[in-house]
């Protein structure tokens, strides 16, 4: 990691400062949710996609916009409805009368941060349009492959209450999200501060977030995260936990190998966020819940309990 950092001419302090600035920016946009912000940053550094399941008005869009602004990327939003078509996301080819040729009009998927709002309200066909984009950071339209941004990240939301007329995300889609989060209501003090700061400000001004993380710094950090060391005992610990998710009587679908890779990468990112260049079982545990909640086949009400019981039943490597 040290060599990688020096090769990219960013020293440790620069990266640490950038992380702090990003954390501050997101904490300003989303008050009182430091734990959520840390997980979002870990997801960004792990090059994962984020699924937020929560009620309207809790700051999902604000968070996505702030993240896009903080990393200086393009932000696009898609409001998912039953009549949304795959082309509305990926883009489509139109016939140009002047040039007498088909021209490709890129869709919102070509942004750096894509907010797919209420993703479970659109049809499986449209949901599947995101599969290739999320897994391979590319889309294929009319047999022509289009490369997406290196920093491409999907932040999808879904409402856990109004399930009438929705299309639950298929397992293949869920497995492509790195983590699933719930934001929840902020503490009263933070809500009070939010109200105070909103007085006298226009809506646009209050939503503005500074560009605090240059793209090359973000890329360096993402590469550094990939090089965070995972020793064999910790790797075996992750494997044992994964095996338990596959054999647990209440779990119908355990962690896939792809999910395992995502879990390890998130643990690496969490370790990097805490200024370490090696993963500990604590890192694995810290990201276990959001990682597993996104992909375990389990009753949502029992999810947290089962994940905690799996973690508590597995001894950590301690020698």
């Amino acid at each position: 990691v040290t060599q990688l950092i020096s090769r990219n001419s960013h020293d440790r302090q620069t990266l640490a400062d950038a992380v702090s600035a990003l954390r501050d920016a997101l904490n300003t946009a989303l008050r009182g949710k430091a734990d959520v912000v840390d997980l979002v940053i870990a997801c960004l550094l792990a090059r994962g996609h984020l699924l937020i399941e929560d009620l309207p008005g809790l700051g999902k869009t604000t968070l996505a916009k702030a993240l896009a602004a903080a990393i200086g990327g393009r932000f696009a939003r898609v409001q998912c409805t039953p009549d949304l078509l795959p082309g509305d996301i990926t883009g489509f080819r139109v016939f140009d009368q002047k040039t007498r040729e088909f021209e490709f009009l890129p869709g919102p998927v070509f942004a750096d941060v894509l907010l797919a709002d209420e993703i479970n309200r659109t049809t499986p066909r449209t949901q599947s349009a995101l599969l290739e984009a999320m897994a391979e950071r590319q889309v294929t339209v009319d047999n022509i492959r289009h490369q997406l941004s290196d920093e491409f990240m999907v932040i999808a939301t879904q409402n856990p209450i109004e399930l009438h007329g929705t299309y639950p995300l298929p397992e293949a889609q869920l497995d492509r999200f790195a983590i699933k989060l719930r934001i929840g209501y902020p503490p009263a003090d933070d809500e009070r501060a939010m109200l105070e700061s909103a007085v006298g400000q226009t809506r646009e001004a209050s939503a503005a977030t500074a560009h605090v993380m240059p793209r090359d710094v973000l890329r360096t950090m993402q590469q550094a995260v990939a090089h965070v060391a995972v020793t064999p005992p910790v790797r075996d610990y992750v494997l044992r936990l994964a095996h338990k998710t596959r054999t647990h009587p209440e779990v119908t679908l355990g962690v896939s190998p792809r999910g395992l890779l995502t879990w390890q990468r998130l643990a690496q990112a969490w370790s990097f966020l805490h200024r370490r260049d090696f993963v500990t079982p604590d890192d694995v545990q810290q990201v276990a819940r959001p990682t597993l909640e996104a992909r375990l086949g389990i009753d949502p009400d029992a999810c947290r309990r089962v994940i905690e019981s799996i973690i508590e039943s597995e001894p950590v490597p301690s020698r």
């Binding site: 060391a229 005992p233 910790v234 370490r276 090696f278 993963v279 604590d282 508590e312 950590v316």
Partner: protein
């Protein structure tokens, strides 16, 4: 042995094998009645009719020495008439002389019994048996000398349920006749025992308890000392274990820093387990150490920073690849001091106070 012609009469009521000898290795199953000595003694008292036949027709050919008679009266004196007198006399005789199979007895001796009892006080078993018979007759009991084989209990073969006997087991003892006509064996030779009646499991248990109680009474002082020592050891067992573990840890001070840290973690975990607040197996040692900061009391408040630093050191020790260098904030000398400081601060007593704090917190909930 079922041929009538093999046998003849030795005396009235006694048969003997005529003109034949029993080949070696012949198995003889014997059936005998046994009399419970304790029951015999307890069933007799002054108010009861004495069942032991007091003989008045002792052989007149042999007149016991007056001193022997006096000795017999002394040994049986002060006892209730009957079995208690017999028992007292036999016990006294067993204690009076020493069994010596090889002790020579000269033919010139006019009264071997008197010589044995009054002078030599040692001799073979037949002298004990003869003395018992003479003395019992002297105080009026009908007694006789008996010879045969002694089935030594330590020669009993449990597999075949037989006791092999040889010439070495030829033995003499005596019998006393009850009023009912039953001859009751007595064993006057020290080192030999009469077979006791078979006891029921309950009787065996009671007998064992009695013997245990008797042994305990005899060794009461030692038992009190051992009991107090064991109780103190039990109450201090955790402290003793901790002391041993700490001594073992002291040997690790010269080891490389990683092994020293692991040794320190092991010692702290052992102390916490002994105190009843061990590290949960799903919690890593670094996280566990960091959580201990919350329980740092006023006296060890300064140790909170030490704990956090040690948690970072434990993370590096346990989970960093071997080629990773020590975190910049820690140098090897600091690490050693850190380990020493924690072992001094986080004593068994400190963990016990944490355990008490937790249990009182749980009870409040």
């Amino acid at each position: 042995v079922n041929q009538q012609s093999f046998f003849g009469w030795a005396a009235y009521g006694q048969i003997r094998m005529v003109g034949r000898s029993i080949p070696n290795g012949t198995v003889i199953d014997s059936e005998c009645k046994m009399i419970d000595g304790a029951a015999l003694a307890s069933s007799l008292s002054v108010n009861h009719q004495v069942p032991i036949h007091a003989s008045s027709d002792a052989p007149s050919a042999y007149q016991a020495d007056a001193a022997v008679v006096e000795l017999a009266r002394a040994w049986s004196g002060g006892r209730e008439p009957g079995w208690p007198q017999v028992d007292a006399l036999v016990r006294s005789l067993r204690a009076h002389a020493t069994h010596d199979r090889a002790y020579p007895v000269t033919e010139e001796c006019p009264d071997v019994v008197a010589h044995f009892l009054l002078e030599a006080r040692r001799g073979p078993d037949y002298l004990f048996a003869s003395s018992a018979v003479v003395m019992l007759r002297a105080i009026g009991f009908q007694a006789r000398l008996v010879s045969g084989f002694y089935a030594a209990p330590d020669h009993f073969d449990a597999a075949s349920r037989h006791t092999p006997v040889t010439e070495e087991d030829v033995h003499f003892w005596a019998e006393v006749r009850l009023a009912s006509g039953t001859w009751v064996p007595i064993e006057p030779t020290p080192g030999y025992q009469l077979m006791e009646p078979a006891l029921s499991p309950a009787q065996l248990a009671i007998a064992a308890l009695r013997s245990l109680a008797a042994w305990a009474r005899a060794h009461s002082l030692q038992l009190v000392f051992i009991g107090a020592f064991a109780l103190a050891g039990y109450r201090m067992r955790h402290a003793i274990q901790d002391l041993l573990a700490t001594l073992l840890w002291l040997m690790s001070t010269r080891l490389p820093i990683r092994r020293r840290v692991v040794s320190t973690i092991s010692l702290l975990e052992r102390r916490s387990r002994l105190a009843g607040c061990g590290r949960p197996r799903s919690v890593t040692p670094p996280a566990w150490c960091a959580a201990l900061c919350a329980h740092a009391s006023e006296s060890t408040r300064a140790g909170a920073d030490t704990l956090r630093a040690f948690a970072a050191l434990a993370e590096w020790t346990l989970y960093a690849p071997s080629d990773r260098r020590l975190p910049a904030i820690l140098d090897p000398n600091t690490c050693g001091l850190l380990c020493n400081q924690l072992v001094r601060d986080l004593t068994l007593g400190h963990f016990r106070s944490i355990a008490r704090e937790r249990s009182s917190g749980a009870s409040r909930k």
